[in-house]
């Protein structure tokens, strides 16, 4: 199967089938039936078994014609690949199709108040009720994007306390719409509430909803986390095509909902793009100290882009990945923090003003109050440095105290 053949096939199919006046669900049902919505998935499960490069060809044709594709968000980018990799056939036939049509959205129920960097130390418990063959779940989760409207949660819960921490976890598909699940917005230090905390009080999940083996949830969770690293691509894919029609209008609303939690993300990254114009607008570019700090910041930002380009070039040539590929997240933290310092240097006392009183209608204040998230979200810088020093530099691991003893005996937070 070559790229031109795939291009001809998808083009012919889109020309025959794309109709913006269908409802979003009607149109995506066609995607699920034809395999063109998820061309890299297996033929047996709504896909066409194409390699990733040919999947890109299909995406290009969707974009060219302006046809709606599969939904953005955690269902497609996290839950579906995890289910495909580890779920039973029964779960695949039940759960995948509504993800493609957008009827079932998903959220992650991983992090807990007592388990941040040490995700495998989670203490939400799931106990089997043999009468109903359901697990009864109790605990608290947080940082769950979209949990307030999700139909399913990707739940990690402890099902065995008598084995070491990595071996007693099970991964479930939890129905969110039930009395035992209470979702509350979690307010952040920058004032937004982009995530939720989720309280599980005797929530119930059928044993058949375990994804992968009972007790093997950590392996399954690693699959989800591997896909999470690519989730920014998924956010980009959530951009709505232009044009009008029922499906397009419905998708725009869907995209707006998915993207709503992320409005402050550009500020979280530090907005290096604003630095020079701000320095000129305030006249601070005449100060030699400010000039030095601006150039330091922009040198760092440019060089980290070049480092990413080097990593990409090596990948394209099929060379083994060098250290340059593992550092992007740490560079993003460093850039963001440097931005916050330089914006403060430029704005001076005005840095404390927010909203309509603040520089750039509050954008500078939003930067200063959002940057602290970068070095925490998705793995703290400290954990990232462990990974880099152990996997890239080959330094020995820190001895652990909890990996080889029953989790029941491991000291943990009292909350």
């Amino acid at each position: 199967m070559d790229a031109e053949q795939v291009r001809r096939d998808v083009r012919a199919w889109l020309e025959a089938n794309w109709n913006p006046e269908l409802s979003l669900v009607e149109w995506r049902a066609k995607l699920a039936d034809s395999g063109w919505g998820c061309p890299t998935w297996p033929v047996a499960w709504h896909g066409r078994g194409l390699p990733a490069a040919l999947g890109d060809v299909v995406a290009e044709e969707f974009e060219r014609i302006g046809a709606v594709s599969t939904p953005g968000g955690g269902g497609m980018s996290l839950a579906a690949p995890t289910i495909l990799e580890h779920g039973s056939d029964e779960l695949k036939s039940r759960l995948l199709r509504p993800i493609i049509t957008g009827e079932a959205t998903w959220c992650q129920l991983f992090s807990e108040p007592g388990s941040g960097s040490d995700l495998a130390g989670l203490t939400t418990r799931a106990e089997l009720d043999p009468v109903t063959d359901e697990y009864v779940v109790n605990g608290q989760k947080l940082w769950s994007t979209s949990a307030h409207h999700a139909r399913f949660g990707m739940l990690l819960a402890r099902t065995n306390w008598d084995v070491p921490k990595h071996r007693g976890i099970t991964y479930f598909a939890l129905e969110m719409q039930q009395p035992g699940v209470v979702v509350k917005p979690l307010r952040q230090m920058n004032g937004y509430a982009s995530f939720n905390e989720v309280f599980l009080n005797d929530a119930r999940v059928p044993a058949a909803n375990a994804i992968g083996e009972v007790g093997n949830g950590w392996t399954v969770a690693l699959a989800t986390l591997a896909h999470e690293r690519r989730s920014f691509d998924a956010l980009r894919a959530a951009r709505a095509p232009k044009g009008h029609g029922r499906a397009l209008d419905e998708q725009r609303r869907e995209t707006a909902e998915i993207m709503a939690p992320y409005v402050w993300y550009p500020q979280r990254a530090g907005r290096a793009d604003l630095v020079v114009e701000r320095a000129k607008a305030t006249g601070r570019n005449a100060d030699p100290v400010v000039r030095q700090e601006i150039v330091k910041l922009l040198s760092l930002a440019r060089a980290s882009e070049w480092t990413a380009r080097r990593a990409k070039a090596a990948r394209v040539l099929g060379r083994p990945p060098g250290p340059e590929g593992s550092l992007g997240k740490l560079y993003a933290s460093e850039v963001a923090r440097a931005c916050a310092r330089v914006h403060t240097l430029i704005s001076g006392t005005d840095s404390l003003l927010a909203g309509a009183d603040g520089p750039l209608e509050g954008i500078i204040a939003e930067i200063l109050l959002s940057v602290p998230a970068v070095s925490i979200a998705g793995g703290t810088d400290e954990i990232q440095r462990n990974i880099v020093s152990e996997r890239v530099l080959g330094l020995p691991k820190d001895p652990t105290l909890d990996a080889d003893r029953p989790f029941r005996d491991v000291p943990r937070n009292r909350l």
Partner: protein, 370 residues
């Protein structure tokens, strides 16, 4: 813009590394740094005649290999890695490029083949005892006289200035700052070695008492000088990146094997996080150095800003890696016997040669119109 090396470039790197591993091990570096000449003529001859390294970026028309700054950068990166002691940077990265940038066709044809073959060694004399690297800092005078110009003044920080067969000297003439060719054995040339902190690279002071000189190309060579210094900043960045890389490897290896408190010190987060930070700095440094070399080949309009960016960033990274490497080596790191100090000294000297980091950052600000 290319972001990955070609197969040919990787082959060149392997060849240079193999040669330097064999002919310029650290024992040789330690021997040569104690000598006044500071290099081994036999090794220079082999690297010139068998590997053709001095001519790597000199066009074929003038006896070189006709490759570019990317390749010259690779050679320098490997030399920085090995702390190679020899007149390569001054003769090739400075003098040959100055002649290429400023010289007439006849001057290039007359001067470059001997540099490409390694038979002659030259260097560039720009800075003066005032330590400035901008054209405004140049006070040495070129006076017109019967039978050509004569030079008057004093130059400092001249790389391999004791050994050079001829000099390219920046001096101020009636038409502005220009570049002049001066024979090493000309009357009125007095040179003396400088005592420096980095014994692996020999510097000299040069007094010019009416030495006979020939203007390279136009008597106004300010633009050619500026381009030469940008290219040199890009190339020194590559040399520094090579030294920093080797030092990081040595230090990480040490952290894996040095036992304290019953475990390798590299298992302590205080050390491993430091190593991760140094790796980050080093990867940025390499990216900037490579990008600057690529600009010298492919995007000359970007070169002035990017060369200065790289010079400042890589110098900071190299010095930081050197200082932290001493720290990670602990007390042993402060001894003469450990090799770390050799790199620290090269890092410190390279930090300020061609202009210290804040000078280059100010140039970036000006060149980006900030």
């Amino acid at each position: 813009m290319r972001f990955g090396p070609t197969e040919e470039q990787e082959a060149l790197r392997r060849e240079v590394r193999r040669f330097l591993d064999e002919r310029s091990p650290v024992t040789e570096v330690r021997r040569l740094m104690e000598t006044p000449e500071g290099y081994e003529p036999g090794v220079w001859k082999t690297l010139a005649q068998e590997l053709g390294l001095p001519g790597v970026a000199i066009p074929e028309a003038y006896g070189g290999q006709g490759l570019g700054f990317a390749e010259l950068g690779i050679v320098l990166e490997e030399m920085g890695r090995a702390l190679y002691c020899g007149p390569y940077f001054g003769s090739v990265a400075l003098a040959a490029n100055a002649i290429l940038n400023a010289g007439t066709e006849a001057q290039k044809a007359a001067l470059l083949p001997a540099l490409a073959s390694g038979d002659a060694i030259a260097t560039l004399a720009v800075a003066e005892p005032n330590g400035r690297w901008d054209t405004a800092g140049i006070a040495a005078e070129a006076r017109a006289g019967a039978g050509g110009a004569t030079l008057h003044g004093e130059k400092s920080f001249v790389l391999d200035g004791l050994r050079a067969d001829f000099f390219v000297v920046a001096a101020r003439g009636p038409a502005g700052v220009g570049l002049y060719h001066v024979r090493g054995d000309a009357d009125g040339v007095v040179r003396r070695p400088l005592q420096t902190i980095d014994p692996t690279r020999k510097l000299a002071r040069l007094e010019l008492h009416g030495a006979r000189a020939e203007s390279l190309g136009d008597a106004n060579g300010a633009a050619a000088l500026s381009t030469t210094l940008d290219q040199a900043a890009a190339m020194l960045s590559n040399e520094m990146a090579g030294g920093a890389q080797k030092l990081l490897e040595m230090t990480v290896e040490y952290a894996k094997t040095r036992m304290q408190f019953g475990r390798p010190i590299g298992s302590f987060q205080a050390i491993k996080h430091k190593c991760a930070d140094l790796l980050m700095a080093q990867e940025l440094a390499r990216s900037s150095a490579y990008y600057a070399a690529a600009c010298a080949d492919e995007a000359r309009e970007e070169l002035p800003a990017i060369a200065s960016l790289a010079k400042a960033q890589v110098a900071d990274a190299y010095l930081r890696i050197a200082a932290e490497s001493i720290q990670i080596h602990g007390g042993l790191g402060f001894t003469w016997e450990q090799d770390v100090h050799l790199y620290f000294k090269r890092a410190k000297a390279s930090e300020v040669l061609l202009g210290e980091p804040s000078y280059h950052r100010e140039l970036v600000a000006q060149r980006w119109g900030i």
